[in-house]
Symmetry: C2
Subunit: 246 residues, 2 copies
DNA sequence: ATCTGAATGAGTACAACGTACACATCGTTG
DNA sequence: CAACGATGTGTACGTTGTACTCATTCAGAT
């Protein structure tokens, strides 16, 4: 084991075994080929194209043209990778112009966040802790918009949290529904309802779900997720305005 | 390969290899030891005690005193198991008494749901699709409470979704924070802040997060998650009441 | 010009996972 | 009592995250 270390450079091996051996080896590998930027970009690309579950360290290494363990020199593990991915896509969230009031700012970020999550559905199935730089920046902009209303610090943070909790909860539900539909190959709401009709009919025939049944029969905006999201968002903003008197 | 199949039953092995072999084997196994109820209970117990990640088919089998593959006779796979677990714990959600108005009903279920999720934090890290029976029942009770206000079907469902999106988003964030703290061995908010102080100080010294900094200095209810949750909840309910005129 | 130590990547290895498949055993029903 | 369907056992395979060791390259000091 340690004996190998004893090898002196000058004398070395008498038969020169390395030449042909090296010729066989693919390439001497250019260095510094990896970087956090490149790793994040590749991981996001994989997740976008093949889903969150496809982001494995091996798949990532393949995409980067690198050995399975190489990325571990740059990230501590899978968790670091998620944080990196979240931070990268979150960079594209931008505040409306400076003159915007608190409500416009929060509303704009809410709509953008939903769009972002729908564009990168893997964001819904990730443990997003992360005080990543871009997420901190977004939070600061929202808090600053609220701070302009002369709120105490606790109310400011509570309002911020309320909106963002709603946005995440709502969008996550939407993503889960979409993935469920995709997994079964149902393209739209109509098709989904058709496929689920037998089970639904059975459930409704029990008479235990009259309110649900009325929704099934009377609702006109069953597939209008934009409307549904904005309805809830405006409720939340109304409620904050009323409760804080702003 | 296929040759083994040729074995006829009658002649079999001449040396009677099974007697001592059987003596070694634990027991002939009493039948029908498994049931969906028992499986669900065991899985919930594991998840409660050791976290969602500890719920593996093998760990489950061990707890049930059964071979690793046994549970597959009852559930199609991991997804079925999650649904079973969610349904089981959701059974304990109960409506307030019948005279309660829509707001009381929604508020009560919101508080209960948060308690339930905090008591079973694995609920936050699970793909909860699931039209499970108990979840359907809870939804119906909330919808019925709203339906009593003469709302159109779309508004009824939108209000329902708004509240529940907030509840899930908010509680999930709380769970993530808790798990983050536990992972680092920080017991409370104060201890967490102390441990994070160096990074925080650095971030604040950049001057990029003034609103955040003010929160850190001035806030008085930083660790009062109950207050924070109820503040948001009441905002949401206020907003719904205003927007729907109920 | 050469040497050296720190970065970085390659390679091998392992335990644990979900689950497919073939087999053994039980309770039930004709 | 014989045969069958339901249920539990056992073995096996491919994939995962990641620990560990070794090889190569680059930068800077000599």
């Amino acid at each position: 084991m340690a004996a190998r270390k004893q090898n002196q450079s000058k004398v070395a091996e008498p038969v020169e075994p390395s030449l042909w051996e090296r010729m066989e080896r693919p390439a001497p590998a250019p260095r510094a080929s990896l970087s956090l930027e490149r790793i994040a970009a590749a991981a996001v690309e994989i997740a976008d194209e093949e889903g969150a579950a496809a982001v494995t360290m091996r798949r990532l290494a393949t995409k980067l043209g690198v050995a399975p363990m190489a990325a571990y020199r740059h990230v501590a593990g899978k968790d670091d990778l998620w944080a990196l991915m979240i931070d990268r896509v979150s960079r594209q969230l931008a505040a409306p112009d400076e003159s915007a009031g608190w409500r416009e700012v929060l509303r704009s970020f809410a709509l953008q966040t939903r769009e972002l999550m729908l564009a990168h559905p893997w964001m819904g199935s990730i443990p997003l802790i992360s005080l990543t730089p871009s997420r901190m920046a977004v939070a600061e902009q929202q808090l600053a918009a609220l701070a302009a209303c002369d709120l105490d610090a606790d109310s400011m943070m509570a309002a911020f949290r309320t909106v963002n909790s709603y946005v995440h909860g709502s969008t996550q539900a939407e993503i889960i529904l979409r993935e469920y539909q995709e997994r079964h190959g149902w393209s739209g709401g109509e098709e989904t309802r058709k496929a689920l009709a037998p089970q639904m009919n059975y459930l409704m025939s029990t008479g235990r779900y009259p309110a649900y049944e009325r929704y099934g029969l009377e609702a006109a905006r069953k597939d209008d997720h934009d409307w549904s999201f904005e309805f809830g968002l405006d409720c939340v903003l109304d409620g904050i305005a009323k409760r804080l008197g702003i």
